[in-house]
């Protein structure tokens, strides 16, 4: 935290090299390397090389391309990045401006950035590290080999060398560099790159799916573009599992320090010598932290369920059966949106609940927050991708309303049941305090209700899509919450479960806390959906407070069960041994480089560092 941005990149590169060398030395596999990287807890400048670059060559390159590039990549000579997003376009990939124009005479593609906004932007590992890039560009091909009219076949991936292999200087015709400091990700060199009619050979176009015939200019396109969705879904399932880890860290710190920290005696107590209360005993602290403790478990079970779903669907796809892809894609979009939002917000919620020390460097929240805040935006902006989930749900509801033939899938089926039950009306509100399964059903019923409302607006009243966006987001979140609640319930009632009755009891408390807390925030919808009675909804705040009181004595052991190591937490407040104040003092008194300098504070003097004369000031003011 005392380093400058350039120093952070230096450190990041040094760590990345060290990790890779340790990996070679000890023969680590991918999992070992990932774990070491995770414990290092800082993004690596090599990250995009290991992830997107290698994967793209493997998936999009044809056999010959894979054979050519793989040995160079494995030897560490070729270091790559993935240049898709541009200054002016991110989510709307079809709108990118960088062009790859086929020159039929020279048998080359010409990469070109026709505008400033066509500049590649944000691409990790590109700013300073990579010497090669996957460049995604609009593929422009002449109609015929001697036509001057070009046809745009849309964005395609190309591989291009961007820096000299010896000097590491930019190649002529390319302007490439680091975009500068950001919220987080300090050691990552997110970059920009512009091409000025930069020529690359025919073999640069990754041709596993699409290709251009160099002689006839014929373009052939992929047989089934849906395969791409598969890996996107995998990334999103991983994002949920990662969100859970982030939340676990935030909550571990908050629960532990919430017990160590004491503030005020009980106002109603007569004992004037009573110790101050642990802040975690105050409902105002509990309400911020304990529902997040419950949410971390909810995310865990859904992350697990999504990974299993992905594996099953993947196996079906490999057999040519794409039937479950739509539901998987829809669920993973909505869950990515909801879960990363819950996790990102949880860090700041926990931090504020820690009082003044939450703002300090010893909190363990600063880098966690700065880095994680990218997640609500990347891999599909959280507000935008809820449309994908809602669109799918509306289609299924429309199919259920039409009611022809067999249901398309499980969602179509539950929509039909809901319609048959006259929108849940002929069975009345569910008694959520009697039976936990009724809680799950209440979430389902609300999701069906909101889906139906959206279906009516769009399909019956024919309202414009954009005017419905807020409603669509609500539909997506309701469905995602319903998935979280369902998977949590199923995990607790699985016949395979080997939980002790005590543990199951505590997790049941957390299940209810998560469900009721979520329900209370949107109580009116549950009422409108005829899912829960008004009387029961009125009772939720008191129930929530009781559940928090019940789980409070077990909170520390529940977070300890995650075993997040102190090394990773890097938090004085969240230490396993509770020596919060000793650690804070040590960081301030012994580990703070600012205390090694004695300053001259008098305003009439030009001198900044005592005894060093006025040159220090001159040097610094030059940076103003």
């Amino acid at each position: 935290m005392n380093l400058s941005r350039p120093e952070r990149y230096h450190l990041g590169l040094a760590r990345a090299k060290k990790l890779r060398r340790l990996s070679d030395q000890h023969g680590w596999d991918d999992e070992d390397h990932s774990m070491a990287q995770y414990l290092c807890d800082d993004v690596s400048p090599y990250m995009v090389h290991y992830a997107m670059f290698i994967t793209t060559i493997r998936e999009q390159g044809d056999e010959q391309q894979r054979a050519y590039w793989t040995p160079k990549i494995e030897a560490g000579d070729v270091l790559g990045c993935y240049a898709q997003t541009e200054l002016g376009h991110g989510s709307n990939v079809k709108g990118i401006e960088c062009e790859a124009r086929w020159d039929p005479e020279a048998h080359e593609f010409i990469l070109h950035s026709p505008t400033l906004t066509a500049s590649k932007w944000w691409n990790g590992t590109m700013g300073r590290t990579a010497n090669h890039a996957i460049v995604v560009a609009q593929l422009l091909v002449p109609k015929t080999s001697n036509s001057s009219e070009y046809v745009n076949h849309g964005p395609h991936p190309f591989i291009a060398q961007i820096r000299d292999m010896k000097t590491h200087e930019n190649l002529p015709g390319i302007a490439v560099g680091d975009i500068g400091p950001k919220y987080g990700y300090a050691p990552m060199d997110n970059g920009y790159m512009l091409f000025d009619h930069f020529r690359i050979p025919h073999s640069a176009m990754l041709s596993n799916y699409s290709r251009v015939d160099p002689n006839t200019c014929t373009y052939s396109k992929p047989a089934n573009p849906a395969v791409v969705y598969g890996s996107l879904t995998y990334v999103r399932a991983s994002i949920i599992m990662h969100a859970r880890l982030i939340m676990a860290r935030a909550v571990t710190i908050a629960v532990r320090y919430g017990c160590v920290r004491r503030q005020f005696q009980d106002r109603d107590s007569n004992d004037k010598q009573a110790p101050e209360l642990s802040v975690l005993d105050y409902p105002t602290v509990q309400i911020r932290i304990l529902p997040l403790l419950a949410t971390a478990f909810a995310l865990h079970y859904t992350g697990e369920a999504m990974q299993n779903l992905y594996k099953g669907t993947r196996a079906q796809i490999d057999k040519g059966d794409f039937s479950k892809l739509a539901v998987l894609h829809a669920q993973s979009s909505g869950l990515k949106s909801l879960c990363t939002e819950l996790a990102a917000n949880s860090i700041e919620t926990c931090r504020r609940a820690m009082g003044g020390h939450g703002f300090g460097g010893g909190s363990g929240y600063i880098q966690l927050n700065n880095d994680y805040l990218s997640k609500p935006t990347v891999e599909g902006d959280n507000w935008m991708i809820t449309q994908q989930t809602a669109s799918y749900l509306i289609k299924r509801m429309a199919a259920a309303v039409a009611g022809k033939g067999k249901p398309l899938d499980g969602v179509d089926e539950v929509c039909r049941e809901w319609l048959k039950s006259e929108h849940g009306k002929n069975i009345g509100p569910l008694n959520i305090f009697e039976d936990d399964w009724k809680i799950v059903q209440a979430f389902h019923r609300r999701s069906r209700y909101l889906t139906y409302q959206a279906y009516v607006e769009r399909e019956v009243k024919k309202r414009s899509w954009n005017s419905l966006l807020l409603q669509l987001r609500k539909v997506s979140h309701a469905e995602s919450q319903s998935i979280l609640v369902t998977n949590f319930y199923k995990a607790l009632h699985s016949p395979q479960s080997q939980m002790s009755p005590t543990l199951q009891g505590h997790l049941t408390t957390l299940f209810r806390l998560f469900a009721f807390y979520t329900m209370d925030a949107e109580a009116r919808d549950f009422s409108k959906a005829n899912a829960v009675s008004d009387a029961d909804l009125d009772e939720l705040p008191a129930r929530i407070q009781q559940l928090m009181t019940d789980i409070r004595p077990h909170a520390v052991r529940l977070v300890d069960s995650w075993k997040v190591p102190d090394f990773l937490l890097d938090s004085a407040l969240g230490r396993y041994d509770g020596k919060v104040y000793e650690d804070l003092f040590n960081r301030a008194h012994r580990l703070n480089p600012l205390n090694e300098i004695t300053f001259n504070p008098h305003y009439k003097s030009d001198e900044i560092v005592m005894g060093k004369g006025s040159e220090a000031l001159d040097k610094i003011l030059a940076k103003l």
Copy 2:
């Protein structure tokens, strides 16, 4: 953003000196100096010297002390800080552990920190800058001059020299330093300080209100301690005005960039050549930004009203009339909590609505957020101080229920009216879409309703205070929202207003947007309070969306009216001239020091910077 923490302090001190010298040179008054400091947009290491230190000497020092210290302060020889908060105690000032023990033989106070948690902590300007400190310590005085039994008279302020006036080194018996990096406030040297039986003279105790007779050990205490509340209230009124400025900056950037940035064509459009839509045309972006545009105006009018209330109350207090102090204190506590929360959250909400570039250094949100996030905690933690507002409201409701004699004040009066109307029941829900004044009344009625519920729980059912904390916070927020809505309404309908009808029209749209948006988030309470009908509450989302559509074309001019200079915004996204992408590119390509270095990215090489050999790596790995 490219500097390290130690460099940030260097720069901060250099800027502070420069500003002070400019002030001398040009004969700036306090307002000029504040404005220059504000435009500099970085906290000054001198800040606490100018604020708390000087004010405390002025208010708490007796005539002789003021005469002694003022010339030294004005000459800039004495540089002071304010050491109250400790490692283990912040909000609970009575619980601080640092002691000032009167030694009747030596006629000195002995400052001592008996535990680690007694260490002064967080105190600004103390870590590296100040040579003097106001030290708040428990005053321990012998029962009589020859008694060995000590009486604790509670926390009192003392002034102590802490560093050598020539060398600026710590004095013996004091451990003082900077606590290290934090979320924000990089140039501020928040400090820690421990005393080991450090002796200070009798004259060190600031004695305008309290004093210890050096011969008899008699302690005399202040006649009316309520005066202290006055300045706390002033600080809180300033916090609201400041919250408004923060929000104005966040919203200015978001509105401007929301217009420049385009994403996706209209899904329902048939024109395939249509330009992509400005993101501010999407309801999903509007709902995050436009209610904040409205909130910034709401905060403005209430900030203004609070300042006027403070001035009026202050004038009364100077005449010995303390009757309005309680309501002022209660209102300012609740408003501090609500308004700083709204402002702090607004920055991150706007940032996320900006897509990828919101995460970049050109957003203008990074330092704004990092610095402002201290506000929900300082000057009374936002969750804690809502108790003060609720406690006051419950007392007034109790008085109204008792109904004896004349009402104590305006709040007592409205409580009586509400009780007379049978809790609003005999007049039915208010027609909020017919008349804006009805909106204001609906907020009042909800606040009365929630106050009454809390009153019943506490005063009738005798429930414990701590078990009611969540409800109390709700009461406080409801009352604060009601104040915001009322002041906004009054400003628009003031007979003195010189607004054009057009402007009044737009501000009325914003008034409704703020009120309906706030109401929608807690709709059930308005229903339970019999303030708004369920049918009207159901209609709120559609009304809000329509109001946003209405104000959208005027959004840019409304934020431009605040005239936040580009110099202060320091945001590529929020530039007045809209040259967003040119500015982002300039920052990346020309102003980024990382691009001046060519690195050696190959993992087998120990070299980090190309051509510099392996020593660079050795140096950096030492920091791991």
